[in-house]
Symmetry: C2
Subunit: 362 residues, 2 copies
Amino acid sequence: MIGHLDSDDASFLLSDLEEDRRARILTKVSATDRAAIESALAFDEESAGRLMQRAFVAAPVFWNVGQAIDHMRSVSEDDLPENFFEIYIVDPAFRLQGSVPVSLLLRSTRDKPLKDIMKEVKATVRPEMDQEEVAYIFRQYNLASTPVVDDAGRLTGMITIDDVVDVIQEEAQEDILALSGVSEAGVNQSVFSAVRARIPWLAVNLVTAFLASTVVSLFAPTIDQHVALAFLMPVVAGLGGNAGSQALAVSVRAIAERDLEGPLIRRAIRRESLTAIINGLVIATLASLVVLAWFQDPRLSVVILIAMASTFTWAGLIGILAPLTIRRLGLDPAVASSVFVLTSIDLMGFFVFLGLASLMLV
Amino acid sequence: MIGHLDSDDASFLLSDLEEDRRARILTKVSATDRAAIESALAFDEESAGRLMQRAFVAAPVFWNVGQAIDHMRSVSEDDLPENFFEIYIVDPAFRLQGSVPVSLLLRSTRDKPLKDIMKEVKATVRPEMDQEEVAYIFRQYNLASTPVVDDAGRLTGMITIDDVVDVIQEEAQEDILALSGVSEAGVNQSVFSAVRARIPWLAVNLVTAFLASTVVSLFAPTIDQHVALAFLMPVVAGLGGNAGSQALAVSVRAIAERDLEGPLIRRAIRRESLTAIINGLVIATLASLVVLAWFQDPRLSVVILIAMASTFTWAGLIGILAPLTIRRLGLDPAVASSVFVLTSIDLMGFFVFLGLASLMLV
């Protein structure tokens, strides 16, 4: 069955197998297919080299349309890609010169030189390029396929959109999971692997939760005198956490869409800060009115107003600054941001709320 | 400029404009283009009808390859799509019979009847179909383009992969934002619109946070006697909330990928329950050891062990059952699940923890 797949799909299947089983399967496929699959496996797992297929159609730059069509009619179907949308034009050293969409080839007269109808290739993809970068290029230029060239500009493969679509879906799904602290998930995942994919995040959060406990414990005498503070702690930390998650999701999404670059960064930081301040004032005011009605204590009401408004402002700022900083460090913002954002909001919220209370209520 | 875009891109641009500006722009484009754009605007915003373009190549079923190629060479370039990967074969009533990839057309001899090389169209797309469904079909069958047919099976348009790629990216990004309670975001969003996109979720959470406060207030006498309970409340609710967010992200992702259907549902529920129980036992044991070391009170340590283990189990169950139920109600699980999941975990966590404490410590 592997013999009938395009070489990129075959290498995907094989990479999940054990080393010796892989060797056994490779002996069953033809020698040329084997060479193609083995060379694909030589590239990093999430690289353009893994996505690309070795079957593509290339024509010398001095041919005309008729020669290209006759060539395609003459070669065996097995040597051509199952489906292709453009052919590549190369010089005698196999360096890429341009491409001709198959639909254009079809519409051109047989005597037309390929040189006259070929188009400049919009973006250059190298085998070692990250697949996320490849997906970005496909979206940016609305591509259906793209040639892959090596350092010397020689044509080495072709990537088609069907494989890129899977990359786009995977990367977005990875971000969804990563933001919630799950490293891996899938329909066939075992309980053991689900536990392993989630427990590191929970362990980190256990540590940060006890850090928050420690902050609260500093104010034990204040809580002892005003037990209402214990009722309201979840409101301050919970709402601040929500505001931080919102800012974080917006920022991680914008980074993934490449909307947070250059001058747009300053603008986004300004928007997040203002949004946090406005939302903070609105929500903190509502909360302080509820507290006033519940406990009939204006001072407690002022404490929660100030504490929530300042926690919101912090949440908005850290919600965008943390992922930006983590990106600058070369790490994945979706994976590493949540713990800093949510921990700092909890600590900040408890400290300001209980600190203010110990100053104003005692 | 609009005159040079394919009709699907043009209708996308126009849908964002005010009604009267739209009318003015439409008078500037040619009559045929105007008809195409206006009919696209008649479809729902997230439908296949909006994605499809009216420019495609169709050939009668009784033609041969040579006739199809000659036809494409004879029509003006403006009447053909900018790029196309297949042509559609229709009967005299314009009912779709099959398709021929352009690459196959190119390789076939001129006298070959189209009937002999045409392929069955893998999936039928209707103009009213939701764009998410269209994206699923493209991924499922690795399509580069697909015909759109009406109720009577007549060919009405073509959808190409470049527009579907944007849909896939958008839908995934919508899920990321929705899970964090943000209804809309974008690089050009104003502060006002950012506030409006986030404050409803914060308002809902303010209500649920005060619900949690009320539960805590029921146990005021117990907290008064054991202030350590106030320190540990964030640990129980926070960790439970993390476990719930993990289960929720995994389930929402699986629903989006259509991995949660039929017999897979029971299996996923089983996996989530077991994972939650195991993670709960591990994390609760660690937490109870920390508590034992900190407060030297075995009873408090047992209270936090039982409370956390049962909160985790609940978190895992509600994290998958809530989105499944919300999907069954025909709503978007990414949007509506978080509030139920996180509120129920908070209430459950505080109630069990403080309830057990009032039974065991007093």
